[in-house]
């Protein structure tokens, strides 16, 4: 995907919805409509900072049929490479940004007979859009929303108004927890479960569902993984004959792009496989942070997903 495929937008509104989460409304710069999308989609937001460019994925929370603007929710991340900080601190109403076309790696299953949605914290965002797709339809659904305290429950009023009893909230501060076992062991055939939020929550849902006998194809998750930080390292791009230096808070993909070389990408989060790159030389080790390569492929060290993975050691040579 190249830069020319982005859509120019302007920040039309910013709202602090919880102490850590800001709600941004993005409108197209040239007026007109943005592309329609399916609930669960995310956009890559391109933010040009003073010293570097950030490209972070954010779920669209706006109703999919609202075409005059997109809405995203951004949590300020403690350990961050800066993208969320940039949005929270440097972006104002009127700031211009670029976004890529929506991509959906977390869609609702269209032939499910029931949908169980489980959100933790900022993980509520994709479900807001999906609820619009589900609302008024024939397929039953319910949302279980876990937050650390009522003050951190973003968009709760909007949810309650629209969905009433179909939304159940659980506050850590009140000692409430989602009853995973009971929830997942009593669902009718054809139910799909969708989870979005911290790694621990996702793990718990997957493990409980599997222990209850759910097959993998009925368990869906989206993760907001900030590409991990690490030590600086170098990569030699054999085809381009360029040496690229990857900074500690920069991904290998970003470093390659900064050097002016295009690598196909999609999710920028280690799941879709689009940036798959061949490793033709390695003296050291690869640090695979993706969810795409098989265990065998990871240990063979002939492939790397530069959007999230890194290397350590004396040298790395890539087929780029």
């Amino acid at each position: 995907m190249s830069e020319s495929q982005t859509i120019a937008v302007q920040v039309a509104a910013i709202e602090q919805v919880t102490p850590l989460i800001k709600h941004f409304t993005l409108a197209p710069l040239d007026g007109g409509n943005l592309p329609a999308f399916s609930g669960g989609s995310h956009i890559i937001v391109v933010m040009r900072g003073a010293t570097r460019t950030f490209r972070n994925p954010y779920s669209l929370l706006s109703p999919p049929n609202r075409l005059e603007a997109y809405e995203i929710g951004v949590r300020r991340m403690e350990e961050s490479r800066g993208g969320s900080h940039f949005l929270h601190d440097a972006v104002r109403v009127g700031t211009r940004l670029e976004i890529a076309h929506p991509v959906n790696l977390f869609p609702l299953d269209k032939i499910a007979r029931k949908h169980v949605l489980i959100a933790g914290g900022i993980g509520i965002t994709p479900f807001l859009a999906q609820l619009e797709d589900l609302h008024g339809g024939a397929v039953p659904y319910e949302l279980h929303y876990s937050v650390r305290s009522p003050a951190h429950a973003a968009f709760l009023d909007r949810l309650r108004d629209r969905e009433g009893e179909r939304v159940r909230m659980y506050c850590d501060s009140a000692g409430e927890a989602i009853p995973f076992d009971a929830l997942l062991s009593t669902q009718p055939l054809g139910t799909h479960v969708y989870v979005c939020g911290p790694e621990g929550l996702i793990r718990r849902v997957i493990d409980t569902a599997k222990a209850s006998g759910w097959p993998g194809s009925h368990i869906h998750w989206e993760q907001f993984s900030v590409p991990p930080v690490g030590d600086a390292f170098d990569a030699f791009l054999a085809k381009s004959q360029r040496m690229v230096h990857v900074l500690p808070d920069q991904t290998l993909l970003e470093a390659i792009e900064a050097a002016g070389i295009d690598v196909p990408y999609l999710c920028r989060g280690g799941v879709c496989g689009f940036c798959h790159t061949r490793v033709t030389g390695l003296d050291g080790e690869l640090i695979h942070n993706d969810h795409y390569l098989s265990d065998a492929e990871k240990s063979a060290c002939k492939s790397i997903m530069p959007c999230v993975s890194r290397a350590r050691g004396k040298s790395l040579v890539l087929d780029l």
Binding site: S185, L189, G190, A209, K210, W214
Partner: protein, 205 residues
């Protein structure tokens, strides 16, 4: 339009227990009892607690063998064994069971292919997908053939060429299979040279 080389023919593998499932539902017909009994035996060794959540629906063969098979099932320790006089009755009961079934259910089907196809067609309506269904062909390989010209279904086809019960055309029986119709495709065999049929052979015994 050759029979060979088509990759959309279903492939069956010998049944084994899916211990990852919580409830196990078995559909069997005739000699399909054997693979199902094998699965139950495997459960008894590897996960005996699964037997209490296992139910069997079975159409016994006619004759003396019937009682032997039914007794074998009843001795296995599964939660329930129900027998039926024919496939239609079994499938109606199966459909009713699925309306109450929970996530975690696994389906095992063994019997003639056309019986299995009908069972899986019902399973599809409940969004049971390939992770949750295991099927082993046992007994007759005879096919249900869907005539692409008149859409009639010709049952129990054992030959490579068959006369359609609907439009009387001679149909080449292809390996291209539809799960939605639970049938193989039949296409007119002699359209280009009327009367010129390939040698008719029994292929699906």
């Amino acid at each position: 339009m050759l029979i060979t080389g088509i990759k959309s023919k279903p492939v069956y593998t010998p049944l084994s227990a899916d211990i990852g499932g919580r409830y196990h539902l078995m559909l069997g017909m005739g000699v399909g009892a054997a693979p199902l009994l094998r699965v139950v035996a495997q459960m008894r060794t590897e996960a005996p607690s699964a037997l209490a959540n296992t139910r069997v629906l079975y159409v016994p063969p006619s004759g003396d063998a019937a009682q032997a098979h039914v007794a074998e099932f009843q001795n296995t320790g599964v939660a329930e064994v129900r027998t039926f006089g024919n496939a239609q009755a079994l499938l109606a009961a199966f459909s009713a069971l699925l309306t109450q079934a929970l996530m975690g259910t696994r389906l095992y089907v063994a019997g003639p292919e056309s019986f299995m196809g009908l069972g899986m067609k019902i399973a599809l309506q409940f969004n049971l997908n390939k992770d949750e269904i295991r099927a082993e062909e046992s007994g007759s390989l005879a096919r249900r053939v869907h005539c692409v010209h008149c859409r009639a279904e010709t049952e129990d086809v054992r030959t490579n060429v068959v006369q359609c019960v609907g439009c009387s055309r001679w149909l080449l029986v292809r390996d291209h299979y539809s799960r939605r119709l639970a049938a193989y495709m039949g296409v007119m065999a002699d359209a280009e040279a009327p009367g010129e049929l390939p040698p008719i052979q029994e292929v699906f015994a």
